[in-house]
Symmetry: D2
Subunit: 213 residues, 4 copies
């Protein structure tokens, strides 16, 4: 069962724009922003990738790590690692991208493990490696900048209570139209994106309503 306090490792078969494979474990101590995308998903090209590019250009990569994850759940024959390589080079995306490992039923492993609904999906991890936000669709820049900053201010070894205190201050500071945010990682901002059929996620006896505080 999915536990945002102890989320699964990224399962990847290769990396572009990185010297060596990146893992959540090795990135402990930093805030990590992951965008799961497909190179031919219009919502990723129009919104998701330009947005994380802006984040990567604004935040210091020594402290806030922005990553892409190529989570292909359709058209596998076309969105290959070789095609991704060309895509990354031509568009000059300025962040490392991992290739989500092939899984069952067309859904790659990390995508399945995190129960993503489609692309683009954005995940925010705190310095302790906990999953703190999970957006499907189009969160806005101000929201993400606020949330990343709040995570940046938490200490790496902070107890869960410190995080809860900062989350409380953040939720007080932001308006909350349409349940824009919760205390953990299951916010789904609906908007144009590529959905997959995800029946296979929801027959498995667990709920999205996990909480961790």
């Amino acid at each position: 069962m999915f536990d945002p306090e102890n989320p699964p490792e990224l399962a990847t078969t290769g990396w572009i724009n990185a010297d060596k494979p990146l893992t959540l474990k090795a990135l402990r101590g930093k805030v990590v922003v992951v965008t799961a995308f497909q190179m031919l998903c219009p919502g990723c090209l129009e919104h998701g990738l330009p947005q994380v590019k802006r984040l990567a250009q604004k935040f210091n990569p020594e402290d806030i790590v922005v990553l892409g994850l190529h989570s292909v759940f359709e058209h596998h024959a076309v969105m290959t690692p070789a095609a991704l390589q060309v895509f990354m080079a031509e568009f000059k995306w300025p962040f490392p991208v991992g290739i989500d490992a092939p899984g069952d039923d067309d859904i790659p492993k990390t995508m399945a493990a995190y129960q993503m609904q489609g692309t683009p999906t954005l995940l925010l991890f705190d310095r302790a490696g906990r999953l703190r936000r999970h957006y499907f669709g189009r969160p806005d820049d101000l929201q993400l900048a606020a949330e990343i900053t709040a995570l940046a201010i938490e200490d790496a070894n902070s107890p869960r209570e410190q995080a809860a205190g900062i989350e409380h201050k953040l939720s007080r500071a932001l308006r909350t139209p349409e349940h824009q945010h919760h205390d953990h990682g299951d916010n789904h901002v609906h908007g144009p994106g590529c959905n997959h059929e995800h029946g296979h996620f929801h027959g498995n006896g667990h709920s999205h309503a996990h909480r961790h505080d």
Copy 2:
């Protein structure tokens, strides 16, 4: 001499979109964002006002107060309070606006007291009423959202050391192209804006390089 630890009160002669006059003193305990603008300044119409509108729509006004300040330093006969009233109503700006009190040499009092170089100018105050940022020109959305969030996380009664600690974390989290930020309120992001002749500011024996920590 200007002291960002204890900045001057807003000097105003009237308010629009407010039940009663607003003061920094009465807003202690909240984070305060002030945009000083002129209703016929192109940089204010194109950048400054739409940006603080986005901020006002994203942040909770109970906790993060966004204000406008109409600081007219040119064309006084045209940018009158009556004209401002029409401007506010027609454009439906969703935040209170104070009218900067007339001063000497065409420069209104608050503008002079804060040594603003022109419009739009953006000021950020912390919960303790200290001036923490001063931008002239066009800071970007991500930068402001990060800085406002950091201020939102500080306690109202925090000692200066807590603020310094959070500032340290914020400066570690952000890239710093071109001295994008300092610890206090004298960042000037140059870009299209309306400058005034400010010789009268710089012959008065003090420096912009005041620091407070």
Copy 3:
């Protein structure tokens, strides 16, 4: 009664960015684009004026004359000629602007004569001085460029039949969603704009459905 074949002269009390008063009569032989605006109308600032600026920068002013007309129907005490002068200088609008002459019931004379519904309104005149298009709201750039070009290709002394032939070719070339265009000047593209109460226009016994061919 309004006759687009022989439309009324612009009634103005002054000009900015012009050496001398401009008249439709003196501009015969050229295509004339007129945008009627108010300096504090949001739709004019956001759409109408930037659009005619693009037109003025694309088309040759020796052949295609772009004009503004300050048609104030509300807040007269604030949108004065002196205020307009500041507005023109600060925003550097690169075209001449006439001041629509005060009329009855707050509606200026040219605005009334052309039965405009509000601002921004865009009028296109052919080389023979006939009114060929009348838009209220937000026509798009491609539409206007196509229509201006068609008018540019008509001869100055062309009989009405040549114009009809070119109109026929233009209407064949363009899609026509929602009656986007007719053969003359009464297209109203609705969208955000400043409307005036125009009951006083429609009790006077004539119809908008005048035709001229």
Copy 4:
């Protein structure tokens, strides 16, 4: 030698969004707009394809035919017909696209025949099948709308003199910064685009400076 009066036929190996292969010959009588692109060329995604989509949505496809041509000159292993099929379906481009036939030295046949410098390239053909414009890079919307409209007004069987007359009127109507247009198809609007090494074009003893009137 390239003759814009009698330009080469499109050489294609397949079509998407079309019932049957399209040819310039069969389209005689209509104005034809061709954008040559590569599905992973950033300038095509950002500028070229959205622009021709706007054109396709504005002009009547019975009279003004907008086509894409997938002219792959690099990364052939990745930008395959199968990948193009996915790209067209995912992005819902609303116009037919032909696949430029493989040629020598990586340059596909139509691209070579028209001496294109890279992608995006935009070609405008008149009703008589003559090439009238050739842009490499980023022409603007107003320019293209004006030129397409001028071609739409020419008769299908017009003698070259009629076309010259309309071109004259068009060139009088438009400003001409940086030789924005000539009388025929060799305008190169430089800007971000994907260039190929085109040395192999320029050793073949002919000039770009062909003229036809």
